[in-house]
Amino acid sequence: MNEWIGTALTQKRDLLEPEAWALLAAYGIPVPKHRLVKTAAEAVAAAGAIGYPVVLKVVSQDILHKSDAGGVRVGLRDAEAVQAAYAGILKSVRAYQPNARVEGIFVCEMLPPGGVECIIGTTHDASFGPVVMVGLGGIFVEVLRDVSFRIPPLNKADALAMIGELKGAALLTGIRGQKPRDVEALADMLLRVARLVQENPEIEELDINPCIVYEAGAVPVDARVLLKSVF
């Protein structure tokens, strides 16, 4: 069993975001630069090492929706902003959920604009077991349910076919003079996620939402891994 999953199971919790990123990275998925810190000074040092601008996010097993809790600050351009964001996050989180345990603050590289937001997810079907999903992010997934599914194991043709099935696939392949995005990189991430959930049956659900697909490369921005409560 994967060590992060093993630890989380013994502590009867899901994976924390840094653990989820580490799991993705272990499967060769290129995650943004990041560091988990415990003090404002550490946060400033981490931001300096990663390079500005950065994003700060709260790491807590008790908070399901980080943004709602005021636990995310983006576009931080200098040390002052990082210090203020660090204090601000702790204050907001305490106000939102006083008893929430805070494991630390996650300092991450802020990704450049110019990508198409997608979502990669997995779920567990009663009849088919693990199922992999891809969709276009934002309103496309939330309102239009523009998603497609496949059942692992996947081959590359399967991954490309599921991307091609999306009604909004043209957003990735290039419309109105836009350059095509790196569909191959998105397909590659799907293949890696499919292998990840197949090899780690303790996972109930995995969400990479969003992952940003650029002209070259695709990068996860937010990852969540939920474990089966009984395993």
Binding site: F128, G129, I151
Partner: protein, 446 residues
């Protein structure tokens, strides 16, 4: 590897007992016995009924034990509570198969009774179809242990959880002159697994398509693997109701299958190249084309029509499905211009206009056969065009491409021509849209 021999011995039974045979024409036990007899079954038939001397002129036995000869297959129509005892007698008699028509088991909460029956059958080595099913009609053995009696033999094997859907498929196929190899009703499907039946029909020489109606699969992955193997040999058309949340709810209570999320099931079908029908009409239409035609070499379709409006309807659906309607090309158009009357519209669709005869279609098709204009031809006969079938059959060789027909607005002529077309191996449909959707399914064949 499933034991296909047990299925074979069930379908090719040399003797059949109908337990619960009845002299009352309104009873299932009467209808099944009558269908077995009238269907021309060549083996021994034994009605079992302690209260009758003979039914439909055949002497009755009081119980299975009283039957003088061997019994290969037992068809059970008695009430559920009596079935365990019948199954014990069947084991003693050395039967190889049982078709349990009777309902009153798992589907109404009597799971224990069903388990008891299945345990007796399993211990006794009896392959079971059902319970709670509409039986089996296996035409190579002229064994119609089902209803209604369908005798038109074809290349379509129908395996259906719903008895009515299976019977409808058989009925339409008979009416069309297409026929079926078999209809097998699954009911609660506690005995012979669906995937074993699929594998059995996949290796039967006279089966060209398997039409499968199920409401859910318990083990999705196992089903995918089995279907993948079947698809190497035969096309498989699937009808799985329960696309919507309400539909899925009905499926759960209907046969208590664990119907997974439909989007996931649909993805599994796409992944393995299984052709899923949207509804029962498409289920029949797709099975029909797949039992008659090979896959065209490409996605180019040429449409010849006597009805402009019908041609447009066909073109719309083709566009929706990504089927190409390429221009006919200058040379082909020139050749057509020399042979056809001036009112014809020389494009794709090629409108031969309302006074078109079978001969005008022949002239046009022969002219087109000299050019590589399409991979598949749709002939829309939108009028009472006599001799359409004979013409299409004759021109097919020269054309060297699959022909599909839509026949509509043809009155009595249409009723005569459609079965002739299908018997000649040319799938015919009552609307242009259904014909084009069927072509779309044919193009999805793996």
């Amino acid at each position: 590897m499933p034991n296909l021999d047990t299925i074979r011995s069930l379908f090719y039974a040399k003797s059949v007992a109908v337990v619960g045979a009845s002299a009352n024409p309104s009873k299932t036990g009467y209808v099944i016995l009558k269908n077995i007899l009238e269907g021309g079954y060549a083996g021994a038939v034994y009605p079992i009924n302690p209260g009758s001397e003979s039914i439909l002129g055949v002497p009755c036995a009081a119980s299975l034990g009283d039957v003088p000869g061997a019994v290969d297959l037992v068809v059970i129509v008695v009430p559920a509570r009596a079935v365990p005892d019948v199954m014990r007698q069947a084991v003693q008699k050395g039967a190889k198969g049982a078709i349990i028509i009777s309902g009153g088991f798992r589907e109404i909460g009597n799971a224990e009774l069903e388990a008891e029956v299945m345990a007796i059958a399993e211990a006794g080595g009896i392959a079971v179809i059902g319970p709670n099913c509409q039986g089996v009609n296996y035409l190579p053995n002229k064994l119609c242990a089902s209803w209604p009696l369908i005798e038109t033999r074809g290349a379509m094997a129908v395996v259906s959880q719903s008895g009515t859907i299976g019977a409808a498929m058989g009925g339409w196929a008979a009416e069309d002159g297409l026929g079926v190899t078999a209809t097998v009703a699954l009911g609660n499907n506690s005995g012979v697994p669906v995937i074993d039946l699929m594998q059995f029909f996949a290796q039967e020489d006279d089966v060209r398509v398997i039409a499968l109606n199920i409401e859910g699969v318990r083990d999705g992955r196992q089903f995918m693997e089995a279907a993948r193997a079947v698809l190497q040999k035969k096309p498989l058309v699937l009808l799985k109701p329960g696309r919507t949340a309400k539909g899925a709810e009905a499926a759960q209570s209907h046969t208590k299958s664990i119907a997974g999320s439909d989007a996931v099931f649909d993805a599994a079908c796409r992944q393995i190249g299984l052709i899923r029908a949207e509804g029962i009409a498409e289920f029949y239409d797709y099975s029909k084309i797949l039992s008659l035609l090979p896959k065209p070499a490409g996605r180019r379709l040429a449409i010849l029509t006597s009805s402009g409006g019908s041609g447009i309807l066909a073109a719309d659906v083709a566009e929706d499905l990504g089927i190409a309607l390429p221009p006919l090309g200058e040379e082909a158009v020139q050749a057509l211009r020399e042979k056809l009357p001036p009112q014809c519209v020389l494009a794709n669709p090629l409108d031969l206009t309302g006074d078109a005869t079978a001969d005008r279609y022949r002239v046009a098709l022969e002219a087109l056969s000299a050019y590589d204009v399409a991979d598949c031809f749709l002939l829309i006969f939108g009028d009472p065009i006599a001799g359409a079938a004979e013409m299409a059959d004759a021109v097919r060789q020269k054309l060297g491409k699959p022909i599909v027909v839509a026949f509509l607005g043809g009155g009595e002529v249409e009723k005569q021509e459609v079965p002739l077309l299908i018997r000649a191996g040319i799938p015919a449909y009552p609307t242009p849209e259904r014909a084009v959707r069927a072509i779309g399914a044919l193009l999805r064949k793996s």
